[in-house]
């Protein structure tokens, strides 16, 4: 479970990368990204999710993105991310979905 806060752009993307890599190294493949406090996301930020989704899914896990603010969701939506990622209302729903899917 990762909580994002503030802006995710080319400067802050490496922090998220490091966090995700740490989870991967600890063999935690099912991640929920909580975007409730995320104000802004740039294309470089979106790239971080792209970089790891495949790997996580191959390892039997997933990256689910929860509780995005409407404006940030719009950016995800414009690019067609909802077609690739589980973008859900809140963390509870994300957990529910992890439970449903056998992993």
């Amino acid at each position: 479970m990762l909580d994002l806060k503030g802006e995710l752009d080319a400067h802050t993307a490496p922090e998220l990368e490091a966090a995700i890599e740490k989870c991967r190294d600890e063999q935690k493949y099912s991640l929920i990204i909580n975007g409730a406090a995320l104000q802004y996301i740039s294309s470089a930020g979106l790239g971080v999710f792209m970089a790891y989704i495949e790997e996580m899914r191959e390892a039997g896990g997933d990256i689910k993105i929860a509780a995005l603010q409407p404006k940030v969701f719009n950016v995800f939506d414009l690019l067609g991310f909802p077609l690739l990622f589980d973008i859900v209302e809140d963390e509870a729903e994300a957990l529910e979905r992890f439970d449903k899917a056998p992993s």
Binding site: A10, S43, A44, L46, G47, V48, M50, A51, E54, L78, L79, G80, F81, L83, L84
Partner: protein, 747 residues
């Protein structure tokens, strides 16, 4: 300084102070004449057997003074141009002495009467009362002995002058000339003052100055051990010879040369006595000083070596900008200065994102050997973090040194190199023996290290500057290339006007726009945005440009084009990179625009009546999915065109621009501005939108790449009377003009 017109004049200017050759020949002749006159004077005295009249006697003394004075000047001029080493000075003086004093001594023994044979005579062959020579032999003897003795006295003063005035100061020079003056003055008084107590008192000032000048011996310290040995031998011989000559001069013994010289000229006699006295004293002080200096010669030479090494490094500071050469000079210089037996330099280097220390140069040893016998890294870390000099007087006792006695590391010293408060590295030096470094060695090494730090710092700065310049040059080239990838001129579109521009936040960017005529009735438009910024984005932008020009002709329909583009890019895009694109195909015959959006910002559109909206068709960014999902998700939107319809294609840099209050420009402001200016043609509308954006942000620089393309449909009926005019914002800000891509359609 006067300007000298040619080499000839320079030569003259240099030689003239010494007088021309002609003048010197004339003087030599005069010297000869004076000498002959002196000889004639004594010859006449002998012939007449009577003392000369007082007037004649004074004239004789004047002639003698002038003759020897000029001889002195000539000899001085001749010898002054041949400066030599101290050994050479002593050697030539000795040889000349043997020759001149040899003549004098030979003459004084020729036909010498047995001592006491001539009762009442103070000198052989001279009438004591009348003071006239008694034989021709006496006349010849007096002349030749005087010439030899006095000439040597003159030479002695001229030769030793070089030594006394070596490294002269104002006072040493003054003392020298004062001594010469006093010698001359005392000599002159000899014409009036008879030998006795008064004469000795008159001698005193000259003797004091002679003694003072005899201690001017600074040349000695610069001699090597061997030279000192040679010079001390020569000075001993010269000393003995002068002593014999001096005794001959001052002795009362009638057979000695002194009595004849005294008869010839009391003035010259006094002069010779004083000159020989100076020679004796100078040889004595030189000899003693040389002997005392012998043991310290090696130390002095070592110091001189240090100095020379330091000077060479100081020169390097301003010259060497090649790091490798500098490193090896830094390690070799302490060895050349005999400060250490081995030296090596450790420099921090950034490799794989971490700082690692490395031995970059080693003299008299190798990095491999050093790493074997000591923990170079631990030693470096200690010196570099403490910034203090590390001195291990007994290196093998330290846990970081595993050297055995034969390894040549008995004592070790590590000095931090710090420039502008930044650690540049550590200079290590070692000696074979333990306790090898004395305090002054360490001080010298520290001074040396300070110089080395500056040299290293200069080299680094130079390299940084070079790298920076190269990078900026390369980025300039990249920008030029990228500018060429954007359309230089937009093709004319029947019934429509188009205006477009693109600016990059950095030298190169990831935005792209283009317009291409697919066939007679259809024109393709594209605006794309590669995720991220800078160089990597620019490369993908270039790839997209190639795809647009190649694929739009073969598969002009938006879905086909974008699917092809996605397939083509899938192979090369990094996993975390994607490209959002909006693509439109304008059909002039059908008066229809087909749009498709691959994850890009929705196209803003407005009609003549002011009804505005965003065309938000379904579609994912290029590169997000590399399979079938992309095509399935993609939808086209067909829009029948009415005259006055405007379409605005842009990148997120426009709507995400922020003002000082951190508010985004946003979609609503874009639509409002569009509504306000919808009656203008594409070029004016484009400019109006950019102006509105800049008014909002309040600045004319860009945080992100920004691209804006405006297409206005005027209707096919107007074709021919209206051509598309594309332009960019101008005037208001120079920045935007300079950075914007001006795209004017060719007529």
């Amino acid at each position: 300084m006067p300007v000298l017109p040619s080499g000839q004049s320079i030569r003259q200017a240099l030689t003239s102070p010494r007088g021309t050759r002609g003048q010197r020949v004339l003087m030599a002749i005069l010297v000869g004449v004076c000498y002959v006159l002196g000889f004639v004077y004594h010859f006449v005295l002998w012939q007449t057997g009577q003392p000369a009249a007082p007037v004649l006697e004074w004239a004789y003394h004047a002639v003698v003074a002038i003759g020897f004075g000029m001889a002195w000047y000539l000899l001085y001029q001749y010898i002054r141009v041949r400066y030599g080493s101290p050994a050479k000075v002593f050697w030539t003086t000795l040889l000349l002495g043997i020759f001149l004093l040899g003549i004098a001594s030979l003459m004084s023994n020729v036909g010498a009467p047995v001592s006491g044979a001539l009762v009442g005579s103070a000198a052989p062959g001279i009438d004591i009362y009348l003071n006239v020579p008694l034989s021709l032999l006496t006349v010849v003897k007096a002349n030749l002995i005087s010439l030899g003795t006095v000439a040597f006295g003159l030479l002695l003063l001229i030769q030793f002058r070089q030594l006394v005035l070596f490294k002269r100061s104002k006072s040493s020079q003054r003392n020298w000339y004062l001594m010469l003056g006093l010698i001359l003055f005392t000599s002159l008084t000899a014409l009036w003052v008879e030998p006795g107590a008064a004469k000795i008192i008159l001698f005193l000032p000259a003797v004091v100055l002679i003694t003072i000048n005899a201690f001017r011996l600074s040349w000695i310290v610069y001699l090597s051990f061997k030279e000192k040995m040679v010079v001390s031998g020569l000075s001993l011989l010269l000393f003995l010879m002068l002593l014999v000559g001096f005794v001959g001069l001052v002795s009362d013994d009638v057979v000695m040369a002194g009595s004849l010289l005294s008869y010839y000229s009391p003035m010259l006699h006094t002069f010779s006595v004083l000159a020989y006295l100076f020679g004796i004293l100078y040889c004595a002080t030189s000899l003693l000083s040389l002997i005392f200096h012998l043991p310290t010669t090696t130390d002095f030479q070592r110091k001189a070596g240090e100095l020379a090494a330091m000077q060479s490094l100081t020169r390097l500071v301003s010259q060497v900008f090649d790091a490798e050469t500098l490193y090896s000079t830094i390690t070799s210089s302490p060895i050349e200065a005999s400060l250490a037996n081995t030296a090596w330099l450790v420099i921090p280097e950034v490799r794989d994102g971490a700082i690692r220390s490395r031995i970059v140069a080693a003299t008299n040893t190798t990095p491999a050997f050093l790493n074997e016998v000591l923990d170079a890294k631990a030693l470096y870390d200690e010196v570099s973090s403490s910034r203090e000099t590390l001195h291990l007087a007994q290196a093998p006792a330290d846990h970081r040194v595993a050297a055995r006695p034969g390894d040549g590391i008995g004592s070790l010293i590590g000095i931090p190199l710090i420039a502008r408060d930044r650690p540049m590295g550590v200079l290590f030096a070692s000696k074979e023996v333990s306790m090898g470094f004395e305090d002054d060695d360490i001080d010298a090494l520290k001074v040396f290290a300070a110089q080395a730090s500056i040299a290293l710092d200069n080299a680094h700065l130079f390299k940084e500057q070079l790298d920076k310049e190269r990078l900026s040059r390369e980025l300039d080239i990249a920008r030029e290339v990228q500018q060429k990838l954007l359309p230089q001129a937009l093709p004319p579109v029947d019934g429509a006007t188009v205006a477009a521009s693109s600016v990059s936040a950095q030298e190169v960017g990831g935005d792209y726009y283009d317009v291409a005529q697919v066939d007679a009735q259809r024109t393709a438009f594209i605006v794309g945005d590669v995720s991220g910024k800078g160089t990597s984005a620019a490369f993908y932008m270039a790839e997209l440009q190639g795809i647009f020009h190649a694929v739009s002709r073969l598969a002009p329909s938006p879905v086909d084009f974008l699917s092809e583009a996605n397939r083509a890019l899938s192979g090369s895009l990094d996993r975390n990179v994607f490209i959002s694109v909006v693509y439109g195909l304008l059909d002039v015959e059908k008066e229809e625009l087909v749009l498709a959006r691959a994850g890009h910002c929705p196209v803003a559109t407005i009609n003549l009546q002011g009804e505005a909206r965003f065309v938000r068709s379904r579609g994912m960014g290029l590169g997000l999915d590399r399979g079938q999902l992309f095509r399935h998700a993609l939808a086209e939107e067909r829009i029948p065109l009415q005259p006055g319809d405007v379409f605005v294609l842009y990148t997120d840099g426009i709507v995400e621009s922020r003002n000082a209050a951190d508010e985004e420009y946003g979609y609503d402001r874009l639509l409002a501005a569009l509504k306000e200016h919808r009656h203008e043609d594409a070029a004016d509308l484009h400019r109006a939108l950019i102006d509105d954006l800049q008014r909002f942000t309040g600045h004319d620089y860009y945080d992100d790449d920004m691209t804006l393309l405006v297409l206005k449909w005027h209707g096919i009926n107007l074709a021919g009377s209206l051509h598309s005019v594309a332009a960019v914002p101008d005037g208001e800000t120079h920045e935007s003009v300079a950075l914007s891509e001006l795209a004017l359609p060719a007529e």
